[in-house]
Symmetry: C2
Amino acid sequence: MKQINGGVTIPKGFQAAGVAAGVKKNGKTDMALIFSEVPATVAGVFTTNVVKAAPVQRDIKIVKNNETVQAVILNAGNANACTGEPGKEADEAMAAAAAEGLKIDKEAVLTASTGVIGQLLPVEKVTKGAKMLAEALSDTVEAGALAAEAIMTTDTYRKECAVEFEIEGKTVSIGAMTKGSGMIHPNMATMLCVAATDIAITKELLQKAMSEVVEDTFNMISVDRDTSTNDTYVILANQKAGNNLITVEDENYKKFVEALTFVSRELAKQMAADGEGCTKLLEMQVIHAESVEQAKVLSKSVITSNLVKSAVFGNDANWGRIFCAMGYAGIEFNPDLVDLYIESEAGKLKLVENGMATDYSEDLATEILSGKTVTAIADMKAGACQATAWGCDLTYDYVKINGDYRS
Amino acid sequence: MKQINGGVTIPKGFQAAGVAAGVKKNGKTDMALIFSEVPATVAGVFTTNVVKAAPVQRDIKIVKNNETVQAVILNAGNANACTGEPGKEADEAMAAAAAEGLKIDKEAVLTASTGVIGQLLPVEKVTKGAKMLAEALSDTVEAGALAAEAIMTTDTYRKECAVEFEIEGKTVSIGAMTKGSGMIHPNMATMLCVAATDIAITKELLQKAMSEVVEDTFNMISVDRDTSTNDTYVILANQKAGNNLITVEDENYKKFVEALTFVSRELAKQMAADGEGCTKLLEMQVIHAESVEQAKVLSKSVITSNLVKSAVFGNDANWGRIFCAMGYAGIEFNPDLVDLYIESEAGKLKLVENGMATDYSEDLATEILSGKTVTAIADMKAGACQATAWGCDLTYDYVKINGDYRS
């Protein structure tokens, strides 16, 4: 498997476009379209929030009932959530306009929205945008980048990832794009993610692979613990690679899962690193845990603690907060066994041994915490399991961005 | 029942003191002592954090095994958590020094600490402080205030409350002091709270009353979702009021629960309103819910959302975030039924009807959100139950205080 430059247009038979349809007030691009030249097997994972945006409600039905779809249309600037029947009609109209432009059935078009909650989606703008998108479609790397840019909200850079690998001598690709960056939290967040692949795989296994992969990637990141109304991760597999259809969990399936894990983890880390207002990526590794569950719960609790996140922003080796956050995670462990390290490009330092402070250098600790990617490692010395969670620091800018998001 | 000026020294037979023992680097008072002239029935509620500070571990044992205690000694500036055996020994030494000064048994002295985690409690300073405290004890209102001030960490004002009520013609009092204000979260936080009362009640009922009261008061506030290693709420009842011992859940018991609820709720609200860096108190009422559980879960989820808290700081009526936070709370409800209001000294406004935005005035909404106490009311229109949770806004100063707490 190797990583290659580009995103959703890398796999064979996929086209993309991004345009400015006037949904965002600032005039930036705000609509994207991903199109597969042939019907593509579909799978999806959606928000667990009780309050589900109109496009999420619609996608869930389609992904459940249909074997294939052929397009995904997305808009930023308006979440189309808490908008009642008018919201559902606007969503349907956006899908219909895309279908018309693409000359395919309306049911073959998925929708996704992100932005402000509770405002009606401007139907005229998004239907006009849908037609512009259909005309602008292209299979170039640049077209994929334009699509990835168009779904950004408070993201500061576009997020794409693509890999290729071999199955039966055929080159198979996965390309994906995603957006963060507020409302990111384990159990999915407003994140929108669209992955495209040319692999041939049954719908059942595509869904299984995706659900497994999400657990260790997107569900292990958090920016602010707020799980959104709009989280959507869909994957389209259009069989253009020419491999024999994967129907069982064989070696080929495992190769695909490995590649999808890589792409999803890269995008998840990109989202965490671009968390609203953040200055650094925070990686929490829990190693030698009794169970994977224990390692996951503890690592997630640390990266979601406002106190830990503030201390990391301040480059303050206040390790007691990491212990505290593990302690209230809701799972048992023996704090008196735990060793704690911090690590970044500036070095590695053991702060705690057997639950008590070592005689570490505060200066070196501050230097390590000043890195762009800071890793904390809790060695539980209790077993053979491990997990990693990713988050970011909590900053003045997070408060600024979110105190004034709608204006 | 009426509220009266003062704190822990209001009930008969209680004395208090606060001194500067040098635990805090800034020279402010940092140790407090509460003393009952006679042995007092004791009950307590402690942190659920797996990582428990040395004083918490000690207090849990004493409250479980002993019918009465006679004193509580507290220090701020050092949490004595994650300090292993040396921490336990330091805690024991602090209790022993207080016991010696008071000429009572060491087991009759509870301890509580708050401050930085992971640093050894300075034994010499706290034992010297314990002796100073024993000599400074007084039953005046001022002595109670001094004790309340000495346990402050990042609190900006001391927190006390006292009430009196009648049982069988006898005047009964409850007086309490508490400190916040970081690490405050449902399921107790570093909060320390000591309540004194002169009522005569069995230990079993005292514990029952306290556990019930905590559920609707201290466990309904949050500053930052971080549950600390040190949370402690203890109550001492010394029988000096002269009422007949309360042994069953009769009218007198109910009067006591009502008074204790009042005191605990007032202190809980004071803590939320003094959340680190905050500019306003946020009150979330969920009314006409299907169950109390539903109302509690939903209201707590709203006041713990960083996105809601940031929007409230920015006076931004971004009500979608309130819906979103209810949606991921982990409990079912029908969002299409919900009406949402905001209210403060500037007025009351309906933002949402049946899950969709009303045609409200953004100017009035901003004006209402600019109040010192902002209440949001979600009318679920689904039942007869309700709950209220209290929190605060998320501000630049929260980040500042916690990015640099230890220096």
